[in-house]
């Protein structure tokens, strides 16, 4: 414990710094396009339809919505995580990434995939929304491009695994540093989970869109999509957790409450994230109700590591606040360093996530889902989770990460603080409106100013979507302004990277079993086989693959 290993110098990690910058820049471009589309949607829902004026660029509500979904939740998240987690891992292991050519090859492959997918996406030849349910058929380049992005994420996993192996050789007896452990678990989980979408692309959608297969199967494709589509949420959330567990406690002036409990939670996420995808298909015909209940139960089970996380993080924040002189049951909360934008943004993200988590539990209850499935409630929910818990955390991280990478101080702390609070406030209004409208029966993914059947009671809440959305958009503008000015105009030297938090109950208390990868990967595989095997097998056996593709936009 007392060995103080030297951090690798910036020169040794020049490569890692550069590639992380590259990933972040692509992520920023994606997010800025995404939030611009978000504003249009918010306004449209309230009756301010700007699409006719944007016709050559954004052809329709649904063209814009496809870009919104793809850019925000597929591109921004994936690029951010592929930059951030390897960066954190090399800092934690104090060693560079295993292969320089693999590092850059991965980035260029991911970018090439993105560009390939973006051509039909921007050209309105893939307006199938980010879930691309067949038999609605996009241009083949959309499917091939997204597949390349997925393959590139596997190469990130490979690079992390090689880096870990090299480190392990030099440190045979040491417990894996927490941040590296968590990053590895996150990418391992994702790699297992993404097999579903890869299979959907390679065996169904790509040959079918190229005309090599006449038909496809709408249900089989949905099963494969949601095999990945739920755990992808954990891919984003776990990346945020890495920061909450390993950096935020120290940013808050304290220690992580329990390192072993954090590891156990992550192993549970590794094991439980995937065999639960049917909870997105409770209302699908063609899947036995009993299997839906199995997935429902496992979804409740994955709530357990989430609650462990909640407890561990709150206890850590309290630890920091008390160290700063906080008192009382609740008052300590105000003693936290709210003036630090990186910290404040992430704590606000956590608070929002508490609501999101409760909503998620509601959605996971199979029969309650009958009320909210595919209503605006779901959009309300996913903006609390992906749109805030994840995105605002990532923004908070960039408030230190961008200064460290570009070696310039953050342009404006004040602007950053205002940005974080505006995001939280805008989201509160925005998602309150969507949740309420969902309970009133308003469908999601629907052009509300053109709808032919609007119920009168919806009208009161629709403007709130635009108001909340506009606040969110202003917040995003402040964010990007601050980022750009930091990169190009800031003159002050950068502060150091926040250090990893120590733990009250440290890694030496963690059972060594937790570092035994083969066991956990096997458990994960067995659970997946159990939860998906029978349903997938019977689908594969009976599918006539007879849904021809069509372009319906």
């Amino acid at each position: 414990m007392a060995t103080i290993a030297k951090l690798p110098t910036v020169v040794e990690l020049r490569n890692e710094y550069a590639v992380t910058k590259a990933y972040l820049l692509v992520g920023f471009v994606a997010l800025s396009g995404g939030v611009a589309m978000g504003l249009l949607q918010g306004l449209e829902n309230a009756g301010i339809d700007l699409y006719p004026n944007l016709a050559p660029v954004v052809q329709s509500y649904y063209h814009g919505l496809t870009m919104h979904g793809v850019l925000n939740v597929l591109v921004w998240t994936t690029f951010f995580i592929s930059g951030f987690l390897p960066f954190i891992t090399v800092q934690a292991l104090r060693t560079p990434l295993a292969s320089r050519s693999l590092t850059w090859g991965t980035f260029w492959l991911m970018l090439a995939g993105l560009v390939l997918a973006a051509i039909p996406l921007v050209g309105d030849a893939a307006s199938v929304l980010y879930t691309f349910y067949p038999p609605m058929q996009a241009h083949w380049a959309f499917y091939v491009g997204l597949t390349l992005v997925v393959v590139a994420t596997w190469l990130v996993t490979l690079n992390l695994a090689l880096t870990y192996r090299a480190w392990r050789k030099d440190h045979p007896a040491q417990r894996t540093p927490l941040a590296a452990f968590m990053s590895l678990v996150t990418f391992a989980m994702w790699t297992i989970a993404s097999v579903g979408i890869a299979a959907e692309m390679l065996f169904l959608l790509i040959p079918w869109s190229l005309g090599l297969m006449q038909g496809t199967d709408a249900l089989l494709a949905r099963v494969l999509f949601w095999f990945t589509g739920h755990p992808i949420v954990y891919f984003w959330v776990l990346a945020a957790y890495v920061s909450w567990y390993t950096l935020v406690p120290r940013q808050g002036g304290g220690k992580l409450f329990s390192d072993p409990m954090a590891r156990v939670a992550f192993i549970l996420f590794l094991v439980l994230s995937t065999p639960i995808g049917f909870h997105h298909q409770f209302t699908d015909p063609g899947i036995e109700e009993e299997w839906k209940f199995v997935h429902s139960f496992l979804t409740f089970a994955v709530f357990f590591p989430s609650l462990m996380t909640f407890f561990n993080i709150v206890a850590s924040l309290e630890n920091g606040a008390r160290a700063r002189g906080g008192r009382g049951w609740v008052l300590w909360f105000f003693k936290m360093p709210w003036g630090d934008p990186s910290f404040a943004a992430q704590v606000l993200a956590m608070l929002t996530f508490t609501f999101g988590g409760i909503g998620g539990l509601i959605n996971a209850s199979a029969n309650v889902d009958l009320i909210v499935h595919n209503t605006a409630w779901i959009s309300g929910h996913l903006h609390l989770t992906a749109g805030t818990a994840v995105t605002l955390t990532f923004m908070g991280i960039t408030y230190w990460l961008v200064p460290v990478l570009w070696k310039r101080a953050l342009w404006s702390r004040r602007m950053a603080l205002a940005q974080a609070w505006l995001w939280a406030a805008g989201m509160l209004i925005f998602s309150f409106a969507l949740h309420t409208l969902g309970l009133m029966g308003m469908p999601r993914r629907t052009s509300m100013s053109a709808v032919t059947y609007a119920l009168p009671e919806w009208q009161r809440y629709l403007p709130l979507i635009a108001i909340g959305g506009a606040i969110l958009f202003i917040s995003a503008l402040l964010y990007f302004l601050n980022m750009v000015l930091t990169m190009v105009a800031s003159k002050e030297p950068a502060p150091a990277m926040p250090e990893f938090a120590e733990a009250v109950s440290g890694p030496e208390d963690a059972p060594a079993l937790l570092d035994r990868w083969p066991i956990w990967l096997t458990v994960a595989a067995v659970l997946i086989l159990f939860a998906y095997g029978p349903s997938l097998y019977s689908l594969l056996r009976t599918t006539p693959l007879n849904n021809p593709g069509m372009r319906v936009w």
Partner: protein, 168 residues
């Protein structure tokens, strides 16, 4: 903080956290098997290219199947439902049997338990009771192309039912 205290704090949190999923499962099983709220299940396949010659979809519409019990055979296609207007007497229990001729659609009747995906190749089934007279909306709640926001229909539940259509 002493290690022992940490340990107790952990347990104090872990045990209720474990009970929560188990309690939720119990509730789920209770509402499903006790209160009879069901999810769509596996009802079989149908060839979307041959709907016009496959019963019951060759003849979409409302059919009475018992006292106060009806079946609505429904086909979704871009961008309409067939039938798109349904008349029923109050107090009916109605099973919707639906499929799609083309892309993925949805069938959603707010304030009822009818919320089901309508997939090409699959038969979807969902049941609801209509006790209160009035007009109910049914909506396609999955994006199905450029005209998605126009895809909806109406169920008109009539109050008094003078002709005996099998009501109680």
């Amino acid at each position: 903080m002493k290690r022992k205290t940490t340990y107790y704090y952990e347990l104090f949190w872990i045990i209720p956290s474990l009970l929560l999923p188990i309690g939720m499962l119990a509730t789920l099983l209770f509402t499903s098997y006790g209160a009879d709220v069901h999810l769509p299940g596996a009802e079989g396949r149908v060839d979307p290219a041959k709907l016009d010659s496959t019963p019951p979809f060759d003849n979409p519409g409302v059919v009475q199947v018992g006292p106060s019990r009806y079946e609505v055979r429904m086909v979704g296609e871009i961008w309409s439902f067939n039938p798109s207007e349904i008349h029923l007497p109050a107090g009916s229990e109605v099973t919707f049997v639906a499929t799609s001729r083309d892309v993925v659609h949805g069938l959603f009747i707010p304030r009822t338990n009818v919320n089901v995906m309508v997939l090409p190749g699959q038969i979807a089934r969902a049941t609801a009771r209509f006790d209160k007279p009035g007009t109910y909306l049914f909506i396609c709640h999955e994006y199905c192309g450029a005209g998605h926001h126009t895809m909806a229909g109406q169920i008109i539940v009539d109050a008094a039912d003078n002709g005996d259509r099998g009501g109680k």
